[in-house]
């Protein structure tokens, strides 16, 4: 682009400043809280089988969160993070994709893994960091990942996955694969430099990536009006030259519709898309956080009435695809399954001591090998101080 062509917009001769209000960003909403679709709304591609699968994932997610918070409170688990009130964003997003698409999570999107069919056993083994964990017990709970399910392993540093998603999607495009990458992040993470880097590079390098922002109003204790002053996250997408949509994140049909369209566009045009899903973090940030220190019960109660799972249930009942008896049976079944899985996972051994040095490199270096041998000799000398590993190698 030469400099004379740089500005192809209108020219004025009075100093005219514009602000965020010049760009109006509507919010897509298909389903109301009573489960009725708005007149003329564009429904997503969905049938009873898909709807049932989505609802089962939502219900399982809700049960899992309840049970695991309780387990953490009982001291059985070191840490946990719920997605209370936001389950539709992860489950609906995953439902709008194909199995070969890569999912990159921040940490509040286990719904995507659940939808993809991650085993309850695998979930539990990760949460209890035992020998069965695919991640070999190295990361904190909630840091799931699965190569088989195309779900990238979660890491704690915020927003680092955003430019990575751009690179991953670029690789998919180079291969000519019918595949995209979806990248989840919160509105707080969008303040990181990596958000800017990832979106700008995706636009310039033309990568088929769906950026999915969960704008849930809070980053730990920081409300979004202390996070940004512009028109949310969506207004920025336009600035990067990225097709952008804002949706009601508690409306499963809106999430599904937006993701389905975004995927089709990203594959066909090989370009990025930004989805900003408006929602509310109903639970605490994590089990280490108490939201009563920074927000009111009234505010929480207001959002409780926008529960995405209840909204979908209302819709399913109106479709004659669901009833209260099925509801009770399903939740009871999940409660029993999760509780049983907790009891199994917490009894499994810690990972073998040798896994402390594997996977640092493809092959452990001589130095690492020597360090491990020293630790083993030490454990053998003071076995009572190292109950998890002593006598086990």
């Amino acid at each position: 682009m030469s400099t004379e062509l740089y500005n192809d917009g209108p020219v004025v001769h009075q100093a005219t400043f514009i602000d965020g209000t010049s760009v109006e960003i509507p919010e897509l909403r298909i389903l109301d809280q009573d489960g009725i679709t708005y007149p003329g709304a564009d429904l997503p591609d969905i049938d009873q089988a898909l709807a049932t699968k989505i609802y089962h994932s939502l219900a399982f997610h809700r049960v899992l969160d309840e049970r695991m918070v309780a387990s953490q409170r009982q001291g059985r688990l070191s840490f946990y993070m719920t997605a209370l009130g936001e389950e539709a964003t992860s489950v609906g997003g995953a439902a709008g994709l194909k199995p070969q698409d890569m999912i990159m999570m921040q940490y509040r999107e286990q719904g995507a893994l659940i939808y993809r069919g991650f085993d309850l056993e695998d979930l539990m083994n990760q949460l209890f960091s035992n020998a069965g964990d695919l991640g070999k017990g190295r990361q904190m709970p909630i840091h799931y990942g699965s190569k088989a399910l195309n779900c990238m392993t979660v890491s704690s540093p915020l927003a680092t996955q955003i430019p990575q998603a751009t690179g991953y999607a670029y690789g998919q495009k180079l291969q000519g694969a019918d595949a995209v990458t979806i990248c989840y992040f919160g509105e707080g993470a969008a303040s990181e430099g990596d958000f800017h880097a990832g979106l700008n590079m995706a636009a310039v390098q033309e990568a088929p990536v769906i950026f999915f922002c969960r704008n849930n109003g809070y980053a730990i204790s920081t409300p979004s009006d202390e996070q940004f002053k512009g028109n949310g996250i969506a207004s920025r997408g336009v600035g990067y030259g990225i097709k952008t949509i804002r949706i009601d994140g508690n409306d499963i049909l809106a999430v599904l519709k937006a993701t389905q369209i975004a995927r089709a566009y990203a594959v066909k045009e090989s370009k990025p898309v930004l989805i900003e899903a408006m929602s509310y973090r109903l639970g605490a940030h994590s089990t280490s956080d108490d939201p009563s220190g920074y927000r009111t019960k009234e505010e929480e109660a207001k959002w409780q009435s926008h529960d995405p799972i209840l909204r979908m249930k209302n819709w399913l009942i109106k479709q004659n695809w669901w009833d209260e008896a099925q509801e009770t049976t399903l939740f009871e079944k999940y409660r029993e399954e999760v509780l049983a899985a907790v009891k199994v996972a917490e009894k499994i051994d810690k990972p073998h001591i040798d896994t402390m040095i594997t996977d640092v490199y493809d092959v452990p270096s001589a130095q690492l090998q020597a360090q491990l041998e020293e630790v083993k000799a030490h454990v053998n000398k003071y076995p009572e101080a190292y109950p998890f590993t002593a006598g086990k190698f």
Partner: protein
Amino acid sequence: MAQINLLQAINSALDIAMAENKSTVCFGEDVGHFGGVFRATSGLQEKYGKARCFNTPLVEQGIIGFANGLAAQGSVAIAEIQFADYIFPAFDQIVNEAAKFRYRSGNEFNVGKLTIRSPYGGGIAGGLYHSQSPEAYFAHTPGLKVVIPRNPYQAKGLLLASIRDDNPVIFFEPKRLYRASVGEVPEEDYQLPLGKAEVVQTGTDITLLAWGAQMEIIEKAAQMASNDGISCEVVDLRTILPWDIETISNSVMKTGRLLISQEAPLTAGFASEIAATIQSECFLHLESPIARVCGLDTPYPLALEKEYVSDHLKVYEAIIKSVNF
């Protein structure tokens, strides 16, 4: 064999890597049609197309974040950071992400196919931000490999090995030598091993250890010392992480003395790691304290560059002091 300079050797390695694998991609600031500010990627876009050799926006954390994702996907990602001085915005992506990718996922995912190339080191009137030698920052990061060549032959062989190694590698190219260092380099494909030091010159009285452009300096000092009848064993470390303890220990057990020279500042430089390890491994063989001849603990100055650098005279004086201890 052709006589080529270090830049041409880098370019030849990249050319071979791109030819052998359709998924090999080179990118960074000004890397595309222009061929890089030092011309290391010259001609690659023309030969392999814009999709495989391209300019990125000016954002180092983005370049390495993108590279991490691309490598995780299975493509061979060769990212360029224009100067090692500007690698710090990507420090998080390198240290928290690239280095820990395999470990944290239990080997479900890895970025073994990532190589980061970056011009490195001083001696070119580059002042604070075109002279730095940041290898020690990365040496403290398990999961990375850090490699630095000393001449064109080494550069090509070590870069090809770095690209093919199944771990993320940072490859620092001594930019003072880009055009200054010329030597015979095979046109064909070859590799030099990572993690192996090379004894460049055998000797009996003292071991001199360095890497990158500093090799020329210690070789010059060794020549001066040999005029005084001192026999120096000159060793190129080549790989900073993981480093070759065995070769260095064997040399020091033979000579009884060790001098390490680096361009980077003294305090917590990589020479400190080597000194601590060797005094532990070779305690009964050491006949004098291990000497470190390094940059000062200051930012890299412009006008006083000559005084700042660990030149051959400073190395020579340290050799004499060690031998006369």
